[in-house]
Assembly symmetry: C2
Homo-oligomer: 319 residues x 2
């Protein structure tokens, strides 16, 4: 069995073919480019599958899926809406080659499960705090896709539900992503550094040079140096993420929590605060059984995960 994994993002199409033991046999990377219409990309995937001699193709896509047949409800990155991408692929690839389409974060978490930070674990929660916040679940050894293929949407769990709740790009208010998602954090940092007060005197502003250049990494370093404004912001935001993670852990009782994404990977002070708060805010027996680790596979996680899901016949698309 040679299984091709593809990570289809807004900029790059990255691909690699793996054997049954997740050993990478070949890899390929190209720009998605323009035009990015579904037919053209489906044709490109089919070419790659032929070229690399794949028996199965799994595609992780930065999109909201509507079902387990690879229907893309929307992908802002690809500018797709209501695209039967799975069907387009199946038409070109079946019956010679199996094909499955997966949410990109689900593929990433499954990749960490089969070949990365959660190898050998039966129950895993993976949460990535980058620009936004995404999650994926492995339960009883299998990926959880949910009733309508949107399991793992931990970024849109609510942490504030009074009148102050911040609007989220999803259209609702009070989502944890609207507080701790990297793009929201960055916006808030720049605003506070611009508007004077404690932020204007902060070490973070010195480190960044200007409000426009400031990012969460500067705040993290300032907080590590004891800056009052930076510590204030981090101690406000860390509990929101910690409670979100702890609540999901209480419900799922995973043996491993895999954390990734820039807000955690590049902000060690923030990361430590989140873990400290989790220890007091998570149901005791669930926390006792938990190991928390950082994601290990980087950009390869989604590719090996998608390849592995297709190889295991998860949500394979019929013709």
């Amino acid at each position: 069995m040679r299984s091709l994994g593809i990570d289809l993002g807004g900029t790059h199409l990255r691909a690699a073919v793996f054997d049954a033991d997740h050993v990478k046999l070949a890899e390929h990377r190209e720009l998605v480019g323009e035009p990015r219409d579904p037919e053209r990309i489906a044709a490109r995937v089919a070419e790659l599958a032929t070229q690399l001699g794949a028996d199965a193709v799994g595609i992780g896509i930065a999109a909201m899926l509507r079902d387990a047949r690879g229907t893309v409800a929307s992908s802002p990155h690809l500018r797709w809406r209501d695209v039967p991408f799975g069907q387009l692929l199946a038409k070109r690839l079946r019956p010679k080659c199996k094909v499955g389409v997966y949410n990109d974060v689900n593929a990433i978490v499954f990749g960490e499960g089969v070949a990365g930070a959660a190898v050998g674990c039966r129950d895993v929660l993976g949460v990535y705090v980058g620009t936004g916040i995404g999650g994926g679940l492995i339960v009883n050894g299998a990926l959880v896709e949910g009733g309508s293929n949107c399991a793992g949407e931990i970024g849109h769990t609510k942490v504030v539900w009074d009148d102050t709740a911040m609007p989220c790009a999803c259209g609702q208010r009070g989502c944890v992503e609207a507080y701790v998602g990297g793009s929201y954090v960055q916006g808030r940092i720049r605003e506070e550094l611009r508007k004077g007060g404690k932020g204007a005197k902060s070490r973070a502003l010195e480190l960044a040079g200007s409000p426009e250049a400031a990012n969460p990494g500067h705040v993290d370093q300032a907080a590590a140096e004891g800056d009052e404004w930076a510590l204030g912001l981090w101690t406000e935001l860390a509990p929101l993420l910690a409670v979100t993670l702890g609540n999901a852990v209480a419900v799922l009782n995973p043996e491993r929590l895999v954390l990734g994404g820039g807000m955690l990977g590049r902000c060690p002070t923030f990361y430590d605060l989140v873990l400290t708060t989790m220890a007091v805010a998570t149901n005791g027996p669930s926390f006792d059984a938990l190991t928390i680790v950082q994601a290990a596979l980087g950009d390869d996680a989604g590719i090996v995960g998608a390849a592995s899901l297709a190889a295991r016949d998860v949500s394979i698309i019929s013709m």
Copy 2:
């Protein structure tokens, strides 16, 4: 296959034997009585299994389990702590009869899944709001027990994490159970009706006769009649439960949410408020895919669920 399901609570031991189609062939009920030492109860279960001709025995127990071998970490109802109950049972029943020990709420939710309000559903969240708040999950068609057999502890997810967070019997603070669990609600109602202010003039007090006689049902009726104090309490508490449920739905994306327990079953005004708030506080795509129903099997759910889990070889205890 004749499978015996047992619900072992603090007061009653209820049992029924089922065929492979969940048809009840015989049932039995007795007081747990005293002494309630594990050896005596294990002997009683073994007698029942012989008497009812069971090939498999599943026991749902009101306890926190430590592992999938039926080790009871603690059961306040039975006054057990660190009891290898599964081993005691296996010694008496194996190899003739398979035996499994399950958390009672897990067995109840699985029962609704195989024969009740969630028949035919692959992904189910069940939440019971009675004296406390318990939950259970079915994912990809299988019960979720979690890494240390305590999945579904939704009652101990946090809804308040500032200095005002209420203490919970679990030892932590701010758990949703400490706000919406029936015994906490009842305590708060009686306190507010006693101490004067709006509560003392409330219709709920008229309905109950005295603060000591007041229960959530009186508050629910008063709220339905437009009583200001009752509506105030319900509109404070309902969002806490609604957000808790909505957040779990965002993470799990179940196709069905089964709700049960007295706080929901006997408080229709509260129930409606919870559902109304869920509609605005739950991740849209997850909510769109969700059906919310009330539990259908009553006291039988745990028995049929435990019987069915054992029949399906879930967490069968080896000798």
